[in-house]
């Protein structure tokens, strides 16, 4: 039950955010699927395999990047159309808010803890995207090599 709720709701939130960023209409379902897969990767790694938040976010971002590349190739659209709305469930808004909240109550130790969580999360997402960039470039290069042969 929670599995289905998580999948559907991450999909809905991605689609709703893609309305705000105004992506082309025919990319809606692809975009929702990308976002849902990224969130499910993160969620499963965290709840069932008890990985730490950095690893889970890294694989979530990696998944989003890979599926975005696939859809951008098949639907002939820029990659950012897919991976910008898909990132919405992973963005560390919750820990950032909690950091501010703790800081206000003068609980600086907890606040720093949450702040580090924010840094780790965004760093992990960035590294995930770096890896997909690498893969994209490698794909481009092999295709050029094949063509020139």
């Amino acid at each position: 039950m929670t599995f289905i709720v998580n999948f559907l709701f991450s999909m809905f939130s991605t689609i709703a955010f893609s309305v705000i960023t105004n992506i082309p209409r025919r990319a809606f379902w692809a975009c929702g699927f990308t976002g849902a897969t990224g969130w499910m990767t993160f969620w499963i790694l965290q709840t069932y395999f008890h990985q730490n938040i950095g690893i889970a976010n890294f694989f979530g971002a990696l998944m989003i990047g890979l599926i975005s590349i696939f859809f951008s190739k098949t639907m002939h659209m820029p990659v950012i159309v897919f991976n910008v709305p898909s990132l919405v469930p992973l963005v560390p808004g919750g820990p950032a808010y909690m950091a501010v909240r703790y800081m206000m109550n003068q609980e600086f130790t907890e606040s720093m803890e949450k702040l580090v969580t924010v840094l780790v999360t965004s760093g992990a997402i960035a590294i995930g995207f770096m890896f997909t960039n690498l893969i994209e470039r490698a794909l481009k290069k092999t295709r050029l090599n094949l063509r020139s042969k």
């Binding site: 709720v5 998580n6 709701f9 991450s10 809905f12 939130s13 689609i15 709703a16 955010f17 893609s18 309305v19 705000i20 960023t21 105004n22 992506i23 082309p24 969130w39 969620w43 002939h76 659209m77 820029p78 950012i80 159309v81 991976n83 910008v84 990132l87 919405v88 469930p89 963005v91 808004g93 919750g94 950032a96 808010y97 909690m98 501010v100 909240r101 206000m104 965004s122 997402i125 960035a126 995207f129 770096m130 960039n133």
Partner: protein
């Protein structure tokens, strides 16, 4: 003279494409790549570009021309990026001539379909409430989060679009969200104030700015990356400040 007119048209087309993409939230790498492709397909190989988050410079050393265009407004509109990409691809395939391509870009700039404002507000509510649930919220808070998310986004876009206030609109929206959430909890129509606020600020969080900042920096475009990163940091700071002041009210 003829050659001069032609290179001027190529220059204008490149600038137009760059301006539209940069204003719609594209990465610097993509903008440079598109402009280079347009110039090469138009027969002018030696294009020099300098793209930052606030302005684009394009020059052709062999024609001794260069021009700068300022980028004033920054909004997110990924459909425009896609449309420019598509037009550039058609131009490369020879389906569009250069004058036609320029007209196509003008058309993209003015009449790309956008979603009705009402839809955007409703989607902001959906983003808030669904994310609140998957971030360990309770079903009891679903409707209040939806309503507060809608109001927060409305305030945000009202101050941003009508009154042209950058950063201040994030601050005011966060303030309103904080006050309404605290009010909802004290009137006991909602349980957990933290979940309400986390859900409602989600549509305002600068996700695109952060992603683009990282991508620009990793592609070697340090100035744009730092500029966008600073923007994201200021937006986050404005949201945090709004929340803090809301808590101090109650």
């Amino acid at each position: 003279m003829e050659q001069q007119n032609y290179s001027q048209l190529v220059l204008n087309t490149c600038l137009k494409a760059g301006k539209i993409m940069m204003e719609s939230g594209s990465e610097v790498y993509r903008v440079e790549d598109t402009m280079k492709r347009i110039a090469i397909n138009a027969g002018l190989d030696d294009i020099q570009t300098y793209v930052t988050a606030t302005g684009v410079i394009v020059g052709f050393p062999s024609e001794q021309t260069s021009q700068v265009i300022q980028i004033t407004q920054q909004s997110i509109n990924l459909e425009k990026v896609t449309a420019v990409n598509q037009g550039s691809r058609q131009f490369a395939d020879g389906e569009l001539s250069l004058p036609d391509f320029f007209l196509y870009l003008e058309d993209v700039d003015h009449s790309t379909p956008d979603f009705p404002y009402f839809w955007k507000i409703i989607s902001a509510g959906i983003v808030s409430s669904t994310l609140m649930i998957i971030l360990n919220g309770t079903w009891f808070d679903f409707i209040p989060t939806f309503i507060i998310g809608v109001i927060g986004f409305t305030v945000h876009s009202f101050f941003g679009k009508k009154l042209h206030m950058k950063f201040l609109n994030d601050f005011v929206a966060a303030l309103v969200i904080g006050c309404l959430s605290l009010l909802a909890v004290s009137l006991s129509v909602a349980h957990e104030v933290n979940n309400l606020i986390i859900g409602s600020i989600m549509p305002l969080v600068p996700g695109l700015a952060i992603t683009n900042a990282f991508r620009d920096i990793m592609a070697g475009h340090l100035i744009s990356g730092v500029a966008r990163g600073t923007e994201a940091l200021f937006i986050a700071g404005a949201i945090g400040g709004g929340i803090i002041i809301a808590f101090n009210f109650f």
